[in-house]
Each structure stands twice: as C-alpha cells, then as structure tokens.
C-alpha cells in the first residue's frame, strides 16, 4: 500500500515536471517569435527617429539662402560622414536602430544608408565616403537620401525655351519690291537681289552669270534659331470646403457634371440644319453611330479593307504622276554635299572632282567631310542670329544680334531683313540698330506680332557683312 502511494506521488511529481517543462518551452518559443532575424552587416540601415523631439541634423537636402557667406558652408556629405561614428555612439539615446535584416528592395522613402542599397543606382567607390552614380541621375550629395530608391529616375521637365529665328508655319515669300509676306512671330527672313551683271565692277564672274541667280529674281534666306532658356510658371487652384468635398454622384458612379457634359456632346450641329430627333443625332455622329451599330470588340463590317490599303501612299502616286516635277525638285542647283568617311582610309584630305569641277571641303569632323561644289556667279546671303544670353528670367532684358554676310561671289542689293518678334519678347522701343546704313521701321504683322525691318541702303559686296541688333524684354 505504501509502495503504491509512493508510486503515485512520484507520478504526480513527474507530471508537474512535464507541465513546467511545457510551460517553459512555450515561453521560450513565443519569445523567439518576437526576435528579429540576425542582421547582415552590409544591410544594416540607420533610421532616424521620426519624433520631432529628437531631430537629427546629419543629412541635409534642404538649403536656405540666407545672409551667411558661402564660405561658411559645410558640405553635407562631409558632415554626414563625420557624424557616422557619433551616430553609432549615441544610438541608445535619441535614435532608434532598426536592423532591417534581409529586407529588399528598399522602400521608396528616404533613409540614411551607410552602405549602398542593392537596388539603388549608386555604388560605393573608395569606401562609403564617395558615392558614385552609375546612371548620372543623382549627384554626390543627393545620392544619400535617395540611394534606396530602386531604379528611380528623377522626373525631369523642360527645357522651356523661347526661340527667335527660322521661318515657321507658311514659308515667307517676297512681295512687291521690298516686302515679305507670310512672316509670323519668330521668323527672321531676309530678301535680296543680285546686282545685274552690267551694273557692277566688282563681280569677278560677270562673264559667266549663273542661271539660278537672275538679276530680276528675288532670293530669300532664313536665319538660324536662337533659343534662350526662359521657363515661366503659372498655377491652378482648387478650394474645397469640408461640407462640399463630395461631388454629386449619379448612377454608375458618374458625377452630375459628367452627365451634363455628355448631353452637350451628343447634340451635334450639322451645318444649318440641326437634327432634332435624338436617335438621328446619335447616328449622324460617326463615333456614336459606330458605338451603337457594333457589339463590343467587333469590327465594322461595312468598312471592309481595300486591297490597296497600305500598299500605295499618296506620296508615291504624286511622284508617279509627275515625274518631271520630282526630277526638278531633286536636281542640285547650287551646291552638293558629300559625306566622305575619312576615318576608314586614314585620309586627311580629299580632292573630289564632279563633272570637271573641284569640290571644296567646308567641314571635316569625326571622320566625315562635307564638300561643296560652287558654281561661279553664286549669290548668297547668310544670316546668323545670336542671343545675348543663353538664359533669361521673366522681366529681364535680352538682346539679339543678326549677322549678315554676303557669302556668294556676286554683289547683293535691295537687302531687306525682317524679324518678327516672338510674343514672349517685347521689343524695347528705339533699341533696333545697325552698323550698316539702313532704314529701320516697325510694323504689326498679320498675326499681331511686332515686325522689325531693316532695309539696307548699301550694296553688299562679296565677303562683306554687317550686323543689326535689337533689345527685348522677356515675358
């Protein structure tokens, strides 16, 4: 009997021992669940506390312009690097260290990383001090706060430029003796005539005047574009009140504004007769009619593809019908350009003869030379436009200079230079000038732009040139 009691007591003790063991193991198991994974040293990331009471001053991206001299400026990267040991020593007080462990990729939020992220665009060279950009998207300093953006590219907009020069829209053409038509805002065009053969003594090729340069023919030339970086900004505003935030919602989630707009669009007006019936109006508008005729994802059966679709274009047909016109357009008139790959043959010079005439090398760069064949009796006026600055803020003055050069070998007369000021530029009165004797006038163009005109009083001899200038205010 006593042995039985002892056996039961022993069994109870063993049972309680089992219970205690289970409890202890459960606590150990549960506590292990809350322990983070062992961190990998290369991926340890220092997070700064989000509390405003313990702000950090280590990485700087916001820059104030103030009255302090620039010499006192401390490079943020140096400051960051210098503060890293301090960060490690003061981790226990104001900062929280989260060992991120195996978390990749990096979140799209700024973090101060001691080591480059695997998904970032920057890598390390020469330790953690030098952050080198592979893609060039981020610089030495900006790399740090954004280094953990995997594959992120800075959204860029612009550049926003204002250009003056060229001949946009309808091509300019001479009108009358000194006029030029189709001049729109931003155009810079000059007209001129070669001096007749018998009236000049300086023409070196008066015995062989060119056919293309008839004395009665008026030639036009266009300047280059002069573009200036001048961004400008405006804004739109949205004001909402707490009681008016919700827009009126109709059936199918459409706002009432949308429905009202749809009703307006579905009442097309065709000429002088307005279709009153709603169904007729809907079928009269092609897009709505197709929408009603066809089921979803169907092809319009009435619009069968023609066998000539995509085979013959209108340009090809024009060329076939008018071969003489195409030949005349393609025929070289004054100059012919050739691209000669010098780099392939290591030739540093070239002498090209075309139809018994030598070609002149006018440009040679990167193994390619551009040759020009010049015929005697050539009349040519070259315009070159330059802006006084590459950049301009709104309200600043900007001056333009137009250089003229008689680049032909015949004298030019009746030269009229016209510059239609772009609408973003306001001409400063009486600012137009010229180093050649000229009549300067301003007028209003067909599109409302201010047209500045220089009518040169002098005949330009071959190789002779000059310049005109005017000032504007950028808007």
């Amino acid at each position: 009997m006593t042995g039985l009691r002892n056996r039961r007591a022993t069994g109870r003790a063993i049972r309680w021992l089992r219970i205690a063991a289970i409890a202890v193991s459960s606590i150990i198991l549960a506590s292990c669940r809350a322990v983070t994974l062992p961190s990998i040293p290369s991926l340890v990331v220092l997070f700064e506390s989000s509390s405003l009471d313990a702000p950090l001053s280590d990485h700087t991206v916001a820059q104030l312009d103030a009255e302090v001299q620039p010499s006192g400026y401390v490079h943020p990267l140096e400051e960051i690097q210098a503060s890293i040991p301090d960060q490690q020593s003061k981790q226990s007080d104001t900062r929280q260290i989260h060992q991120a462990g195996l978390e990749v990729p990096c979140p799209p939020l700024p973090r101060l990383a001691r080591h480059p992220c695997s998904g970032g665009s920057c890598n390390s060279r020469g330790g953690s001090r030098a952050q080198v950009c592979q893609s060039g998207a981020c610089g030495t300093v900006a790399c740090l706060p954004v280094a953990c953006m995997p594959g992120a590219v800075v959204p860029m907009v612009g550049p926003y430029v204002v250009c003056d020069g060229g001949d946009a829209y309808a091509p300019a053409r001479p009108a009358g003796r000194f006029g030029i038509q189709n001049v729109t805002a931003g155009d810079t065009v000059a007209r001129y005539r070669p001096v007749s053969v018998g009236s000049t003594q300086s023409d070196p090729d008066e015995s062989q005047p060119a056919d293309e340069c008839d004395a009665e023919e008026v030639c036009l030339t266009v300047s280059n574009y002069a573009c200036v970086y001048a961004p400008r900004f405006a804004s739109v505003r949205e004001v909402s009140h707490p009681s008016e935030e919700a827009s009126p919602i109709g059936p199918k989630g459409l706002t009432l504004d949308t429905l009202a707009g749809a009703q307006v669009k579905r009442q097309p007006v065709w000429g002088s007769t307005q279709r009153i019936a709603l169904v007729a109006a809907r079928r009269a508008e092609p897009s709505l009619a197709v929408e009603e005729r066809l089921p979803a994802l169907a092809v319009d059966q009435n619009d069968l593809p023609h066998e000539s679709d995509g085979v013959e274009g209108p340009a090809a047909r024009v060329a076939d019908d008018q071969p003489m016109l195409a030949e005349r357009v393609d025929r070289p008139r004054i100059q012919v350009g050739f691209d000669v790959p010098f780099a392939w043959t290591c030739v540093t010079g070239a002498q090209v003869m075309v139809m018994g005439q030598a070609a002149e090398v006018i440009a040679a760069d990167r193994g390619t030379a551009t040759l020009r064949l010049e015929e005697p009796g050539r009349c040519e006026l070259t315009l070159c436009k330059r802006a006084g600055s590459d950049t301009a803020r709104v309200g600043e003055e900007l001056d333009f200079t137009i250089f003229l050069l008689n680049s032909g070998d015949r004298s030019l007369q009746d030269i009229v230079l016209v510059d239609a000021i772009p609408k973003r530029l306001q001409l400063i009165p009486k600012s137009a000038a010229s180093n050649l004797p000229a009549d300067i006038s301003t007028a209003t163009g067909d599109d409302g732009s201010v047209v500045l005109t220089w009518r040169l009083q002098k005949t330009l001899q071959p190789g002779e040139g000059g310049f005109v200038r005017f000032r504007t205010v950028v808007h």
């Binding site: 049972r15 702000p55 610089g139 907009v157 970086y229 900004f233 949205e238």
Partner: protein, 214 residues
C-alpha cells in the same frame, strides 16, 4: 480529473505565451513602414535641415530642385527642419527641396490676421531641366495668393498646382496668374493640360501636433 486539469493548464500557458509573442511583434513597428505609417505630414522633410548661404551648384544636382516661395506683402515664412523650425523671415524664400518629398511650412504675418499662423505643405513634383549651373537661378516659382491664406483661415482646404507653361505664344503667363478649377475637377489634371506640373502647395486649417511648434 487532475490529468484533465493539468492539460488545460498547459494549453492555457502555451496560448498565453504565444499571444504574448504576437503582441510584442505587433507593437514593434516594421522598420520599412515606420516612416509611412507613423510620421505626420512634413516629418520627412523635417529630417533635412537647411544650411545658410548660397547653394553650391554641386548640391543642386540629382534630386534637389530649388523653389522660390512668394506671398502677399508682409508674409513671413519658415520651414520645418531637423533642428526645429527655421526662423520666420519675410518672403520670398528660396530653398532647395528633394523632388517628391513633402515639406511643412509655417506662414505668419498674414495681413489682417495678426497672430495667426498656417502650416501648409509643399512638394516638388518634377525637376526642371535647366542648363548646367543654372538651377539656382531658375527656381520653381510658387506664388501664394492672399486669398489662399484667408480661405485657409476660414476653414477651407486650398490646393494649388504650379505648372511650367509650354505655351510659347502667350505673353500673359505669369506666376501670379491663376484660376480656380471647376468643382469636381482635379487641379493636377487641369494643370497637366496647360503645362508640366512642377510643384504642389496645400494649405488648410490643419493644426500641427502639440509640441512640434515652439
């Protein structure tokens, strides 16, 4: 009976310990989401404190876009920095911000509302493709209208989208020119039709958390 009680007790201990583990895990915030879920608006920008002096060009590379904040006469402005609020100073304020981040501003000196302050936020949406070395000379110009401030003080929520105009044939595009979008329209969408949105300015009657403003 005792055996059943013992098993129930063991199960209870196990469940209690397990739930404690889950609770501890839930309390401890995930390191990845800590910024997004915990921080108030502008706290990210608060980690980045300003430096006095003209901004070197090499700093303005990459993700930093200068902005220029202007306002009505007498308006004072400050920005929340890592070291607290910068001192209030008369507008305009030219500052370089990281593209895509929201920064908190502090506006005082509102005419007719002396003593009252607003705490708007500003965010740069895109970086201007300025010529090299010209970024600081051509900041994004944000003009705060007086009606923005009065509307915000009256309890309205004002959102302003600044866009860079692409229209070269309109001479009347100015930073001070703006209009209100129709009710229900999104001003970001409207601005996208007029140009490239480059900055967002939001002001309302939101009061900062206690203790964040000295």
């Amino acid at each position: 009976m005792l055996r059943v009680a013992t098993r129930v007790l063991a199960t209870a201990v196990f469940a209690l310990a397990t739930s404690m583990g889950f609770a501890r895990e839930a309390v401890e915030p995930n390191a990845v989401d800590s910024f997004a879920s915990v921080t108030p608006l502008g706290a990210i920008g608060a980690l980045q404190h300003p430096r006095p002096g003209s901004c070197p060009d090499d700093v303005l590379t990459g993700w930093i876009q200068p902005i220029d904040i202007r306002g009505p006469a007498g308006m004072e402005i400050a920005i929340e920095t890592a070291e607290g609020w910068s001192p209030l100073r008369r507008a305009p304020l030219r500052i370089g911000l990281v593209v895509g981040r929201a920064y908190r501003l502090r506006i005082g000196g509102i005419a007719g509302h002396e003593g009252r302050e607003l705490f708007p936020s500003v965010r740069v949406l895109a970086k201007l493709a300025a010529p090299p070395g010209m970024a600081w000379r051509f900041p994004v110009e944000i003009v705060i209208d007086e009606s923005d401030l009065t509307a915000a003080l009256a309890g309205s929520h004002v959102r302003r989208i600044v866009y860079a105009s692409c229209e070269s044939d309109r001479p009347d595009v100015l930073a001070s020119n703006w209009f209100d979008v129709r009710p229900g329209d999104d001003c970001l969408d409207v601005a996208s039709t007029l140009g490239d949105p480059v900055a967002e300015f939001i002001v309302g009657n939101r009061t900062p958390s206690p203790g964040s403003v000295p």
